[in-house]
Amino acid sequence: MHPAPSVIVFTVLSGLGFGFLAFLGLGALPGHGPWHFALWVLGYALAVGGLLASTFHLGNPQRAWRAFSQWRTSWLSREGCAAVVTLILLAPVALGDLLPLGDLRLLGLLGAAMSLVTIFTTSMIYAQLKTVPRWNHPVTPLLFLGYAIAGGSILSGEGRIAVVACLILFLVLAASWRIGDRRFAEVGQSIGSATGLGDLGKVRVFERGHTAGNYLLHEMMFVVGRKHADRLRIIALAFSTLVPAALVVLGGPHWPVVVLATLCHILGALAQRWLFFAQAEHVVGLYYGMR
């Protein structure tokens, strides 16, 4: 699949944002006053910024409001609804830092739960697609949740949780590649089943339907990014899990360490997300004899 920068930025930033909001909602970084409120602003900026970035790849972004209507069937619609509900639930908790709004711990807990639900709905946009076998597996939601919890715990300075979350993310990442690499073969679609001619004999592309490019070739059959896949995997694994975990352990709970660890984690997440799209093979490629 074509790794559109807007979608990579969207999933990475909003994942980190909702992860961070979940930790804030659970009462990590207790405190009051404008400085503490600024942390909430950061969480909202990441989450909302990511959601806004996702509208950049739309053909008609001015109609994006319509995407809240089909929550009964569409994971993309559910994601939009869940994100808005989460942001509304947590708003009083955030304002509680500035105003005397009383005990809002229960609302914070609810908001934290909805943050994770939002991450889950994001992951299901990809995991639901039977046409992309690499994504169509329970490891995809685990991956997105793993990133949100690891990112959120690093950014909120929850050192011990961050180290455990990073190690879990390490394992989930490794598993996602191991499982993903054999998913296409496992699902078993081939040029023979795509054309239905497989029972007659061995099918080979003789001529494509068109000599020029088209939307399908551009969107679903992206091969450039796979060239450096192995190196990108090492970068993703090291920067999103090992480096931030080491920084947190060695550096302790100081804000420069937290910032550096978060930036490393984001870099690793961007590399992982690039590969997530670039390495995903859509079954329509079978008609073109390419993946």
Binding site: Q70, S74, F206
Partner: protein, 244 residues
Amino acid sequence: MTMLPGPTPKKLGLAIDLDTCVGCQACVTACKGWNDQGYGAPLSDQNPYGADPSGTFLNRVHSYEVQPADAPAQLVNFPRSCLHCESAPCVTVCPTGASYKRAEDGIVLVNEDACIGCGLCAWACPYGARELDPAAGVMKKCTLCVDRIYNDNLPEEDREPACVRTCPTNARHFGDFADPDSKVSRLAAERGGFALMPDLGTKPVNRYLPPRRKGAAEASPLAPLLDIRATGLAGWLDRVLGKI
């Protein structure tokens, strides 16, 4: 609404005969021609006269070589367009309700006024039936020429999809698959019509009719020539040289 309507009283679709299709691309052109001027946004082309042209089409004809284990290789021309699936994944993933399946006849359509151009429906389609039009920013797909088949202003023989109407070899047939006595249902039954990638659970309506088993020679026509028994001087030489 992106809820699927459930079983529809009519199941309009195409039966495409891979035996008679000659790959002339006339259906591709007729489709582009008709859908460029009627229903919805026109099918745009990008850089059509430049070095790197591309464009939006609702129908593409590929060609495949099929090599049976025990017979000569065969060339199969393969038109590829929307199969108007009963369990259409492109409909349920749509976040805005733009993508829908008609309850009355099962045609899968896009309400272009509600389409945000996110492309998720095209990702969900295994068959590459949807192409996002870069000029209009909305998803385009086969409408089964919904603006022809019910159009009282057209002569009756023209009330079928443009691809079907134009096909010079009658390789494309339009009809109702819910009616077991319709032309397309009978064709599919008689010729062993099949669905594409049925394992994916999309339940396509369209059927492809397989190439007929040709009266091909059991072996290559050149086979007898491979076992030449030379006679006369050449035969004598063959025998002598073979003994040295």
